[in-house]
Symmetry: C2
């Protein structure tokens, strides 16, 4: 199949397919006379795999790693298990961070509507470094993604 058909079959945009090839995630395809890429079902399966991993928010590096393990470690599942576990802990970490943010944002909103008078916005005060307990030391490390 040509790239457009692979794209239709997997839901992955054409440019992204070419990008994965350039990045070494997809092996280079055979070429037709007119220099068109020609794919087979194993390409399709691999692309499906990649897209599924991406939809789980794994980085291309993680996926790369997974593809290597898939090739080399014929039987033992441990390495793969480990990659997934690690990714899961990334995701959990990020959820915790975002829940912290959510709480802080809700507090800010409360500061705004709470006092009867709104001469100058409580939110702005909150943001400029006023009274919140953990204003320093914030700096969420932006772990991954």
């Amino acid at each position: 199949m040509k790239i457009g058909e692979l794209s239709a079959a997997t839901g992955c945009p054409i440019e992204t397919i070419r990008y994965y090839e350039k990045e070494g995630l997809l092996p280079g395809a055979a070429r037709s006379e007119g220099n068109y890429r020609i794919y087979n079902t194993s390409h399709r399966d691999r692309l499906t795999f990649i897209r599924r991993c991406r939809s789980l928010d794994m980085s291309l590096d993680e996926i790369h790693h997974l593809l290597l393990l898939q090739k080399t470690s014929g039987e033992n599942c441990a390495g793969i298990d480990h990659v997934i576990e690690q990714h899961l802990s990334h995701v959990s970490e990020r959820i915790r961070e975002l829940q912290g943010l959510k709480r802080q944002l809700a507090e800010l909103l409360a500061q705004c509507s709470a006092p009867g008078k709104t001469d100058d916005c409580g939110i702005l005060k909150g943001l400029t470094g006023g009274s919140n307990e953990d204003k320093r030391g914030g700096h969420v490390p932006r772990t991954h993604r």
Copy 2:
């Protein structure tokens, strides 16, 4: 104060300070004879504000917007309230997405350890497009951050 002092005072890296200036978030500083940037306390307050917003995971665009509102709408707090609310809903959305991912990853891990025999990894099967209900239609839109 010079840029290094401002950096120390706010915890913001020097390069980032220059970057904010280039992006128009910080007004250009006065210059010394030797062409060093010279900052005052109002710069420091503004930078603190920006960093606090960033630590709440707002985009530079949102912060820009907020700074404009701060200048123009002397008294009414509504616009600012709105920006924060909208950002809060971004964050909530992202949390929901990540919780979905977390659930799927946990399922994958279960597939691995569940069967007594591990001839070929259940995780890999799960990832290559096998049996999970919502394998298509995934495509988390990566809303923002």
